[in-house]
């Protein structure tokens, strides 16, 4: 039996199909994955993301510690409540995990890491925190709900006191604040506006029911995956892992090389990578978006090729996009000049166009769509 979140009994009552996800028993879908997806793009949906691991870091040197631990610079968090997306790298520049860090105070931070890498992350963080005298506290008693969609923030605010609602609705994107014993952040993994809410596990089922009663649709991991891929967001373990570095994973934007004196773990390796990319760009790989011009669905690990080059890479994530009604994908390809590639979809070579993710943001199509294939 896998690990269960405080919401597990409710998922069962709601008739969810339960699957194993990184050792956790999580809801894949409740009714229809497509309906759940559309609910988030058009109104609001709620996801149980309590399997993600919330880690509090506290100590006088916690900022110095995080500036060494992460490839993005926590020094950018100059105000309390601000969040930062960052990769945690190993010495070779490989991505150990991607995470969000919130500044909770002058010497207090909260990191939210992936479920599947939780144990390895904690061991890595503790190993390095030791030298800085930083206290590492895993917040296992918290439940985490992601409430996402154009109507999501108001739906959450309606469950709060007037003062709490005002504070939550005043949050700018990528900011969070305490509201009583909840922590509410304007973040998410769907490409829509919304909140991620950390609250005591015991209260989570009641809040979920209240959200359902207000029209917020229960959504599973299936819809979460199609929404994040449309939003052009990476999934750890699919689109990057410890054997790939940020520049070949579409995550170069999250690597802060300035100031030059900040010596974060993996920096030396990344500088070698950058020198090599400048010297021989055509031998380097990059993560691109694909949209299929023909009927069919691209899936991860399918090979991507170009007539004159042969195989130039493979798909890291692929699905059917419910919003675009076409198949979309992320693929790691050699940096060849091309607008169109062929994907080996179950033995057939199908044409796909290279595009710049995101595919969809805030309900709007962000790429030029090919004619719908018949």
């Amino acid at each position: 039996m896998g690990r269960r979140t405080p919401l597990f009994p409710l998922h069962q009552q709601l008739g969810a199909r339960i699957v194993d996800f990184g050792g956790w028993e999580m809801p894949l879908q409740y009714t229809s994955q497509l309906a759940e997806h559309h609910a988030v793009r058009r109104a609001a949906g709620v996801f149980d993301v309590s399997h993600m691991c919330s880690i509090d870091l506290q100590g006088e040197r916690s900022q110095a510690f995080l500036r060494e631990l992460l490839a993005n610079d926590i020094g950018k968090l100059t105000v309390c409540g601000k969040a930062l997306y960052a990769c945690m790298l190993n010495e070779s520049g490989g991505v150990l995990d991607d995470l969000i860090v919130y500044r909770l105070g002058a010497d207090r931070f909260r990191a939210v890491v992936n479920a599947g890498t939780r144990d390895r992350d904690l061991a890595w963080i503790r190993r390095h925190a030791h030298r800085y005298g930083v206290e590492v506290l895993e917040r296992t008693q918290l439940a985490m709900l992601a409430v996402q969609g154009p109507a999501a923030r108001q739906a959450v605010a309606n469950l709060l006191s007037p003062a709490g609602a005002a504070a939550a609705l005043a949050l700018a994107p990528f900011f969070g604040c305490d509201v009583g014993d909840w922590f509410i952040a304007r973040t998410g993994y769907t490409g829509e506006d919304g909140f991620e809410v950390m609250l005591p596990g015991a209260a989570a089922q009641g809040i979920w029911r209240s959200l359902n009663a207000a029209g917020v649709v229960s959504c599973g991991l299936g819809a979460r995956d199609t929404l994040r891929l449309e939003a052009g967001m990476n999934l750890y373990g699919n689109d990057m892992d410890e054997h790939t570095q940020p520049f070949e994973s579409g995550l170069g934007w999250s690597v802060a090389l300035a100031p030059a004196e900040r010596d974060f773990i993996g920096r030396e390796a990344l500088e070698r990578v950058l020198a090599e990319r400048a010297r021989a760009p055509e031998s380097q790989r990059r993560l691109v978006g694909l949209v299929l011009e023909e009927r069919g669905v691209i899936r991860s690990h399918q090979k991507v090729q170009l007539a004159q080059h042969g195989i130039i890479g493979e798909v890291t994530s692929g699905t059917f996009s419910p919003t675009l009604e076409r198949s979309i994908a992320l693929a790691r390809l050699l940096d060849v000049a091309a607008e169109r590639v062929q994907v080996d979809v179950r033995g057939k070579l199908l044409n796909a166009r290279i595009v710049q993710p995101p595919f969809v943001r805030n309900g709007k199509t962000m790429i030029a769509l090919p004619e719908k294939a018949r």
């Binding site: 879908q29 229809s32 009927r295 899936r299 059917f320 179950r346």
Partner: protein, 131 residues
């Protein structure tokens, strides 16, 4: 619990077979199969005239989650693939035993069709798979 109409025959790979009055057969996937696949977004059906042996890959049903092959439970010549499914794959989810049919086949001449399960036997199989 999934729907298993009494008048159809079934396979262990979750296809159904309906005998039509003119001697041809209609083939689709069961309610159980469509539930397991989830929302279908793409269905590929065989073209008329194709000769199929028992167990040949004859169609692909693809949901948001995964692609699955459909195997022909009967040998014969394809009379028609369901033309509606290219634009409305959800018919297989909504109506797997009627408008969601995949193909019609003229069975090969020779011995009568064997190896298919009755509704009761198929229901038994579903029960044993769920335990």
């Amino acid at each position: 619990m999934s729907n298993v109409p009494a008048d159809l025959k079934y396979t262990s790979t979750h296809e159904w077979v309906r005998s039509l009055p003119d001697g041809s057969v209609e083939i689709g996937i069961t309610d159980h199969a469509q539930q397991a696949l989830g929302d279908l977004v793409f269905v590929e059906v065989p073209e008329a005239g194709r000769e199929l042996k028992v167990g040949d890959r004859c169609a692909v049903v693809e949901s948001v989650k995964a692609a699955s092959d459909v195997y022909s439970p009967v040998a014969g010549e394809v009379i028609a693939g369901n033309p509606q499914l290219a634009s409305a794959p959800e018919a297989v989810n909504n109506d797997p035993y009627a408008s969601g049919w995949l193909m019609r086949l003229r069975p090969a001449s020779g011995p009568p069709i064997t190896g298919l399960m009755s509704a009761a036997e198929y229901q038994q199989l579903l029960l044993s798979e769920s335990h």
